[in-house]
Symmetry: C2
Subunit: 336 residues, 2 copies
Amino acid sequence: MSPETIQLDHGSGGTAGYHLITQLFLPAFNNAILNKLDDSAQLTINNTRMAFSTDTFVVDPIFFPGGNIGDLAINGTVNDIAMSGATPLYLSVGMIIEEGFSGNFLHSIIQSMRQAAHKANVYVVTGDTKVMPAGKIDGIAINTSGIGIIEKDIHISAEHACVGDTVIISGTIADHGITIMTQRENLMIEGDIQSDTAALNGVVSQLIEHNCNIHVLRDPTRGGITAVLNEIARQSKVEIEINEQSIPIKPQIAACCELLGLDPFNIANEGKLIAFVPESEVEKVMTIFTQHPLTKDAAVIGQVISNNNPVVYLRTSIGGKRLLDMPIGDQLPRIC
Amino acid sequence: MSPETIQLDHGSGGTAGYHLITQLFLPAFNNAILNKLDDSAQLTINNTRMAFSTDTFVVDPIFFPGGNIGDLAINGTVNDIAMSGATPLYLSVGMIIEEGFSGNFLHSIIQSMRQAAHKANVYVVTGDTKVMPAGKIDGIAINTSGIGIIEKDIHISAEHACVGDTVIISGTIADHGITIMTQRENLMIEGDIQSDTAALNGVVSQLIEHNCNIHVLRDPTRGGITAVLNEIARQSKVEIEINEQSIPIKPQIAACCELLGLDPFNIANEGKLIAFVPESEVEKVMTIFTQHPLTKDAAVIGQVISNNNPVVYLRTSIGGKRLLDMPIGDQLPRIC
């Protein structure tokens, strides 16, 4: 069933977006690869296993502390590919630009993309640019799609969480989303607030090289860790319990969340991943994480406790337990 | 050098778009695959040759005689992949939708995408949906990216036109662009005017199966046959001569061009291709084309006459000869 009109929540990582996907897109394009709903599609072409992913970036503002729409677009697709354990290789860039957009801004964005691609060791090999008349698009939107190769016989998927798995987050949460929100609200905050946008394929490749047994990798972007944990619970049909106290968050980010009345668990990250691994792998994975600059604040935050119900519980800091339910939509649109 | 501001012409298939690509994108992302500037990037992964392409569709209106933005988006990327002689396999779909957009419209668009994908024998395996607040994007924009496999040892590229090659167009020109323009201008025209949007991978695969020796394949979309012929002239460093009288065009389309003061050679097509083949292959290629419903109006329209200058000449119907110069921009934006 189609909704009567498309609403902002349909573009979120929450329930409304999930409904749009499962009720409109999946029935239309129905195939085993798409239906897995992982961050990237896993394909096999001529016996070579590959990951293929796409993402469109409409972040507002387009420049923000820690990055801009350009490096965000490169890192976002690199990460989606890396989350299947693939080595990202090639990207496409599709731009829609508003007539009258500053040439200097475009130049800066492209330079950031160049640097981000270089850092992530990927090549932009094909592209497309459309210009829309003034007023028909707000500034610039960038789509990146990408291909990676899965070199080992590994099978990482949101469907593979198992009872007993340990849940690890690779660092502090909510940095990206809160940065965007403070920019948009013109809040002057003390302390270092900046987006965490970064490519995580380097650290993922270390996990793969060291033969870490990883069940699930996801990057908690739109909808934050809440959305991603709920998706994993649903796709693996498992019950997950998260310990509130163990989730790393910078004090200034926590303060902003308080100030803005936002739940940091629902806020987008752009340089973090969540890993589900068997208990036996935790030490090895955490050693790799804590030695890498992008994941040095990694923490064990919970575990898969049963396969009774596909839900996520939060063990709160005062000892209570509450359902960490999928948000309906995002607290603000155009976060990425 | 960046332009001061981005103008509509920068999104065209003409000179302005070419400058943006060569002055801003190529220096930044500089690599041998991108620098070829073919419709798709040709990659080799684990000894498997592949084609990878991306295209964003912002056509206005989104529904038009002969199709809508949905099947246009599927066919467009399928064709870009097929133009390297690859068999298109997998597509991604990235949508940006305006808040308040009709759910029924979205449903129709997705159904058209489903049908087009089915017809072209490709799978949509991954996607992304963003919603922008009302007024921040005009309706809907769709990016499709795709992967195909190049199964034989063929090397089709805009760089491979040779002196003596025959130039073939697969059917009538300007159908898509004129359809969009008459819709936008609310012109009521007698006769059948509709977009030619169609996936050409079926007929291309017949060329490949029959071992036709093809030097160049391009689909003349933005900027029409003028832009594509000039690109080929430039990339292969050859002089091309086209015979005006031999270019197939429907009388009602020619009449519209007269009425609107437009040059049909510069108008976008969405279901046509231009092939450069050695003279010895012409009969075989034309036999395949004329027997296929999508290319039955194919015609020989010119040849590569020298490698003196990278230019395109038009031998006019009254016996003159004029330069068919690259247009600066498109005659109307948002044609695809």
